[in-house]
């Protein structure tokens, strides 16, 4: 965006306190372009305040007046012809009959600077484009203009065509004073030529109002330089629209997905489907939940989980069951064998012997406590009994071992008799686990058995029925699970994809409130800046219209640029006979044209325009006589500050200028056979003043004393005009600042001061003026003295001589 505009936006943000609000960064980013806005939104980080510092002001291209236009071999002009215009503010009329070549100058000037002409921008393109070369003098073709540029002085702009070049192939170059040749861009006018277009032609003006309100809006708003603001607005609204669209797409995509989820839920009672539906049912989606539900490694809840747990149920392997049974039997056999071989008796006998030995040892018994045989317990017995007891004790230990082994086998076998897992009962709503439960209950019932033999029988008898029932149930569960997964997986896959989109869309929508605030603010501010910028143009247009409307009963009130995009338009507050009415419809062609001129003349003469000149071609067509008077006075007004060059074939405009006593230079254009175009100065303010003076001298009925008082004033006006031209010519050629020149001229209060500036370039050297004039001749000094005495004194000498001497003096000064 244009930096000065950016600064204005920044200052406005600052002024209404919006700079502190979060969305202000988006306004600034949008002003930097759509890419910057997207980047800012993406990073989501508030741009640093330092980045938002107001940008510095830019310099406008230098202003320029026209000094001359030279044309050769272009349209109506054959051999080289030069139109010289007085540089500086003023009104120059170029008058010639149709076909005299006058419009060729206007056209050539436009082609010189823009490479194109409005004349052939229309329908008749081909005809015009082919006919741009002069018939009599097709080659060389050249257009050249001498500009007086502020700050640098004269610059010559030339466009030349080679022999076979089309009109757009001409090459332009600029030769600034004291520098080498440059490209046309050197002037820096490219943009201004569009925005402040200083060329106004009848064709163009009348088409402006015909081509619809949008076109008129564009033409008028271009000058305001606010396209970048519109672009920033567009960036914001596009960004919002894109986000909204993404959200709409996500919403639209969700509807069929939800339908599928409902189907899955209803068909298979899939909990995930129900949960996904719940997560996406509200205004705000729980995308994390959906993502978790659709993920691959998710602990699935509910039925799927139960089915999965049924599928993974395992019983002890049949081999293990068989082994347990056989171990039981083996242990029982071994224990029985131990019992049978007297292992039990051995223990008892060992205990008995050990008791007897103890009795013998501690109580010195020698009689058998069992059979009362006296003296049976003797040392020999003791030796024998000790050996026997040890042998019996060992025998008893092997029995106990067999018993322990049998108990362990029972314990091990009972470990296999696990209770039915709760999942079976839990899956009763999906599967039919009753047979398994029954078999399992049967299996588990073995826990109460104590006899190893029975236990082994129980294992062998119940293992197979249980595992058979369980396998059947597991198969059922697996089938069910697969069916559900098959229904779910495609939905889950699509949901996963959708979650990605929805997440992006949701993230995008997060910015929507801020973007909307930024958009609203920028729109409001843009309208306000536009209105503010357009106001001076609108006001000047209304002023010009007052001149131009003359007897028209159409009154122009406020002019505004309204609407935006396709509904943009220029609203003209038009009242007809005091009644507010339909605007353009009620106006005549002449009125419309005058209105267009009122609208576009201010555009071309805005302060910031580098063009100090405005070229108007053929403005008089279809105007009523009275409006021509108004037109002349409108130009007179614009010419106070601008160099106004008007081309016309209509006698009425120079007529009006003459009649109304408007200061203007008139140049006549005539065309001889073979396109030889000649220009002649036919009227000039100096000539006009002197001719007025002569008319007064010649009027014999005018009282002598009045004549003697009045005539010197007209002579003085003539000399003032010459001095002014001289000052402007010299200063502007030296590249002086245009406004400063006008200020200096306006500040010259006396003829002496003006003369001092004109002659010495120094307002203070008034005392040298007479000396210098006397160097020209005594008559010159005398004449100047008489002019200076003003109307307070009657001139005593011969009036016709005074006028003649004045003319002579004017010529001398002009060519000095």
């Amino acid at each position: 965006m244009d930096e000065s505009l950016q600064r204005i936006v920044f200052e406005r943000l600052q002024a209404d306190g919006s700079l502190d609000l979060d969305w202000s960064v988006y306004v600034i980013a949008a002003c930097n372009g759509a890419a910057d806005l997207e980047a800012t939104l993406e990073s989501s980080s508030a741009a640093e305040a330092s980045e938002l510092a107001p940008p510095a002001a830019t310099t406008a291209p230098a202003g320029a007046y026209l000094s001359s236009i030279t044309v050769q071999g272009f349209r109506g002009i054959g051999p080289e012809a030069t139109l010289k215009v007085q540089a500086g503010p003023g009104f120059t009329l170029v008058v010639g009959r149709n076909g005299s070549g006058k419009s060729s100058f206007a056209d050539a000037l436009e082609v010189l600077f823009t490479g194109d002409s409005h004349r052939w921008a229309g329908r008749r393109t081909q005809v015009w484009k082919e006919g741009w070369r002069n018939l009599h003098h097709p080659h060389p073709a050249m257009v050249e203009a001498v500009l007086l540029v502020e700050g640098s002085g004269p610059a010559t702009v030339t466009r030349r065509w080679k022999e076979d070049d089309a009109v757009e192939a001409g090459v332009a170059e600029v030769k600034p004073h004291g520098k080498g040749k440059q490209s046309l861009d050197y002037l820096g006018w490219t943009e201004a030529l569009v925005t402040h277009r200083p060329f106004l032609s009848y064709n163009e003006l009348s088409s402006m109002l015909d081509e619809g309100p949008g076109k008129l809006y564009d033409a008028l708003s271009l000058v305001l330089g606010l396209e970048d603001l519109v672009e920033a607005q567009t960036a914001l609204s596009t960004s919002r629209r894109t986000r909204k669209k993404a959200m709409d797409t996500a919403k639209k995509a969700l509807a069929p997905l939800r339908e599928r989820l409902e189907q899955v839920r209803d068909e298979g009672g899939d909990q995930r489907a129900a949960e996904c539906l719940a997560a996406t049912g509200g205004r705000i989606w729980d995308l994390d939940a959906v993502e978790a539900l659709t993920g691959d490694h998710t602990a699935a809840a509910g039925e799927i989980d139960r089915l999965r747990r049924v599928v993974v149920l395992e019983l002890p392997a049949p081999a293990r069951v068989a082994e347990a049974a056989s171990k039981l039997r083996q242990a029982t056999l071994e224990r029985e064998a131990a019992t049978g071989s007297g292992s039990h008796r051995a223990g008892t006998l060992a205990s008995l012997l050990e008791g007897a030995l103890d009795y013998h040892e501690h109580d010195n018994g020698s009689d058998c406590p069992v059979c009362n045989t006296p003296g049976a317990l003797d040392p020999q017995w003791k030796n024998r009994a000790q050996d026997e007891a040890a042998r019996l004790r060992a025998e008893a230990a092997s029995w106990e071992q067999a018993l322990g082994a049998e108990r362990a086998a029972v314990r091990d076998a009972k470990e296999l008799l696990v209770p039915a897992p709760s999942v079976l009962q839990g899956a009763a709503d999906i599967l039919a686990p009753e047979p398994v439960l029954e078999a399992w209950q049967q299996w588990r019932a073995g826990i109460t058995l104590t006899a190893p033999e029975e236990l082994a029988d129980h294992l062998e008898k119940n293992s197979e029925p249980l595992s058979g029932a369980l396998e059947t149930l597991k198969l059922e569960a697996r089938t069910e699970l697969n069916a559900r997964q098959e229904r779910w997986r495609p939905v889950a896959r699509d949901l996963t994809q959708w979650v990605k989109e929805a997440r992006t869309a949701s993230l995008g929508m997060k910015h929507d409130p801020s973007l909307k605030a930024a958009e609203d603010w920028l729109k409001k501010t843009g309208d306000s800046i536009r209105a503010q910028r357009f106001e001076p143009i609108g006001n000047q247009a209304i002023e010009l219209w007052e001149h131009l409307r003359q007897q028209s009963n159409v009154q122009l009130g406020k002019i505004e640029l309204a609407g935006a995009k396709t509904r943009r338009r220029v609203t003209l507050d038009v009242t007809v006979d005091g009644v507010a009415g339909a605007a353009l419809g009620v106006m005549s062609q002449g009125e419309l044209h005058a209105l267009a001129l009122s609208l576009f003349l201010p555009r071309a003469t805005l302060e910031e325009s580098p063009f100090r000149f405005v070229v108007v071609d053929d403005p008089v067509q279809s105007m009523d006589p009275a409006r021509v008077d108004g037109l002349a006075r409108a130009f007179e007004e614009v010419a106070q500050e601008r160099q106004v060059i008007v081309f016309t074939h209509d006698e009425r405009l120079p007529d009006a200028v003459r009649r109304l006593g408007i200061e203007a230079t008139t140049i006549g254009v005539t065309r001889r056979p073979a396109s030889v175009v000649e220009l002649r100065l036919t009227s000039h303010p100096v000539i006009a003043h002197l001719s007025d003076a002569r008319a007064l001298v010649a009027d014999s009925r005018l009282p002598e004393d009045v004549r003697r008082r009045v005539v010197p004033g007209f002579c003085r006006s003539a000399l003032e005009a010459v001095f002014t031209d001289r000052v402007r010519g010299r200063r502007l050629a030296a590249g002086a600042e245009h406004a400063a020149v006008e200020k200096e001229l306006a500040a010259a209060n006396t003829l002496n001061e003006l003369a001092a500036i004109a002659l010495f370039d120094d307002k203070a050297r008034t005392s040298d003026v007479m000396n210098r004039l006397n160097q020209i001749g005594g008559w010159a000094g005398d004449t100047f003295k008489q002019m200076n005495r003003g109307a307070h004194h009657a001139y005593p000498g011969a009036l016709f001589k005074l006028v003649n001497d004045s003319e002579k003096l004017c010529k001398q000064v002009a060519h000095h």
Partner: protein
């Protein structure tokens, strides 16, 4: 405003206001003529008081001199109005008659100019153009 001046303007106004078969088609120019006479009468009155004799000179001279005897804007307005009325008075085959509103505007100008001339008659100063 002298009785003669206001009488001429009143006559011009009545031509605009009332349609009459006798003046049909002629009234715009007739009204312009009367209005111009009113302006010229105002100028005569002005000169008789400020610079007797000037009223006998050509209108161009009078209007040029006026720049020295009255303020520039008034002189300009007088010139413009006189020029516009003169054009309306002369019958040009190719030009259309002035419209009623156009004439009204000019007649308002005449009234303004004559009133202003009357006010500045008292001043004896001659201003520089």
């Amino acid at each position: 405003m002298s009785a003669l001046t206001s009488g001429l303007l009143a006559a011009a106004h009545s031509l605009l206001a009332y349609s009459d078969a006798a003046t049909a088609g002629l009234w715009p120019r007739a009204a312009a003529l009367l209005a111009r006479q009113a302006l010229e009468q105002g100028l005569n009155d002005f000169w008789l008081e400020r610079a007797p004799g000037v009223e006998d000179s050509s209108r161009r001279s009078q209007l040029l001199c006026l720049r020295s005897y009255a303020d520039e804007q008034l002189a300009e307005e007088a010139s413009h109005t006189w020029a516009a009325l003169s054009r309306a008075c002369h019958h040009h085959a190719y030009e259309l008659s002035p419209t009623a509103s156009e004439l009204e505007r000019w007649m308002r100008s005449v009234t303004d100019v004559v009133d202003s001339l009357e006010k500045s008659r008292g001043r004896a100063e001659i201003t520089s153009p």
